[in-house]
Symmetry: C2
Subunit: 255 residues, 2 copies
DNA sequence: TTTTAATGAGTACTATTTACTCAATAAACA
DNA sequence: TGTTTATTGAGTAAATAGTACTCATTAAAA
């Protein structure tokens, strides 16, 4: 669907007042990253998102968006909050009419795009390296990873959305398979620790982290020890998924 | 707004595809209770809920509903999930036309009430005794407390909604001021323990619970010891709200 | 060959949790 | 009126978990 079609007939396919936005998290170079879109005619970035189709539920809409941006299927995806601010999509200093002109279409006063939109927020956890060529959408020109603590200027209420998503991710660390979904299949103990430290926001004792992690039984030694880097080669681990999920049910705890 | 007005012009006041439902919890006789509505023309019960006004945000809508049913203001209220199932408001064996006739109004095929509705779910915690005379709404005839494990037949997707609300409440026990909002101002240690046991779903050791609770510093001895009942008179406690909120930030833990 | 920085493993100490015991007490009972 | 009963307040010992370390090992770099 191109822009003209979307502006004219979008309301036939989509619900005009319900959207889904998706905070897609990745972990790389010991840093939490998020996938953002740079808009064509607005000076700012946003989360990937879009209207909900009339024929789909929110989970499906979020999955579709994730697929469209990353090409990935069957990704860990969680609804975390619904945003309903009255003027949440308003852009300071620009009205919808102007925006229409900037993209070359007419958006009259009764146009369906003028309706108030509530937005169901999701967060997704993806393995960073699997996202090869993230795709922008109709209204955007760049889709790329941004460090979570070096965010660009964000449009709409997306700053608040990201803050809330990160906060939720932190709280869910002991109840959701965060490591399993953010790390590659094989990883070192240090990488796992760095992920926890990044999300918790404070350092952990190396020996105790190691002891506790191994104690939970959620890790499997692969036997490999990747050489090539300086110093002693670390073991490579992978998750014992069954045991991980079982552990989460009673709630792990790292402090 | 009466039924005729609502059916005819409701879409001018309300967003036709966004609603809010509210799981209102109370605690009485050592039992978790929820406030439910019995419908006039449908054989079943539902959560209090309603369309979101065009001029209000979800939090405000939930607050309004809570006020309309219970008469209470400034109640602990938390969004917990948004429900978007395609046929979530469908009633097996009855279509909207029939329903319209049953309440004496005409609901044609293009009527605004036919639109798909997504629903933002909230849960509220109220002090049971403060709810004196819960009020039914336009479509319902009874509004009353039900035991959480003796639920009547529920309409729409409200069984799922309640289950999810209870699950959320359990998970939030250590992060939200659940005791503070569900218990009366003054309460005994046993009552507090019963609340925790009810929500957690398993018994706790009395001595250890007491020791830990007093250790957190969130309780204040009132000095009173209510007499009149059999056996040794227990102390009455109230919450030290500041300390409670502070404790929750780092997350309490009862297992 | 030596140095360096990181890993794997372990240890002593502290704090918390768990599973109990026991005296005190207020109403109910005989 | 004295005794019984159920419940409360308080405390303890043992087991478990968490904290702050040390130290030998090792692979690449100097």
């Amino acid at each position: 669907m191109n822009i003209e079609e979307f502006v004219r007939d979008g309301h036939l396919t989509y619900m005009p007042s319900v959207a889904v936005d998706c905070a897609i998290f990745g972990f790389h170079d010991n840093t939490l990253k998020i996938l953002l879109l740079k808009w064509k005619n607005l000076k700012g970035w946003s989360l990937p998102g879009g209207y909900m189709k009339r024929t789909e539920e929110a989970d499906e809409a979020a999955g579709r968006l994730l697929r469209e941006r990353t090409g990935l299927e069957k990704i860990f995806l969680q609804q975390y909050h619904t945003f309903t601010g009255i003027d949440r999509t308003k852009i300071p200093g620009m009205d919808m009419q102007e925006f229409g002109h900037s993209i070359g279409v007419e958006i009259g006063p009764e146009h369906w795009l003028r309706q108030r939109v509530v937005c169901v927020g999701y967060y997704a956890l993806v393995e960073y390296s699997r996202v090869r060529n993230p795709q922008a959408d109709t209204f955007t020109e760049v889709c790329e990873w941004c460090n979570i603590d070096e965010l660009p200027h964000l449009l709409f209420d997306h700053k608040e959305m990201i803050e809330m998503a990160v906060k939720t991710l932190r709280l869910q660390l002991n109840f959701q398979p965060v490591g399993l979904n953010l790390l590659p299949h094989k990883f070192t103990m240090s990488e796992l620790q760095k992920l926890y430290e990044t999300l918790l926001g404070y350092p952990l004792d190396r020996g105790n982290f190691r002891k506790k992690m191994l104690g939970t039984g959620i890790l499997r030694k692969t036997g490999e020890r990747p050489t090539g880097k300086a110093h002693k080669a670390p073991h490579l681990y992978s998750f014992n998924k069954q045991e991980y999920v079982r552990s989460l049910k009673s709630g792990m705890r790292f402090s």
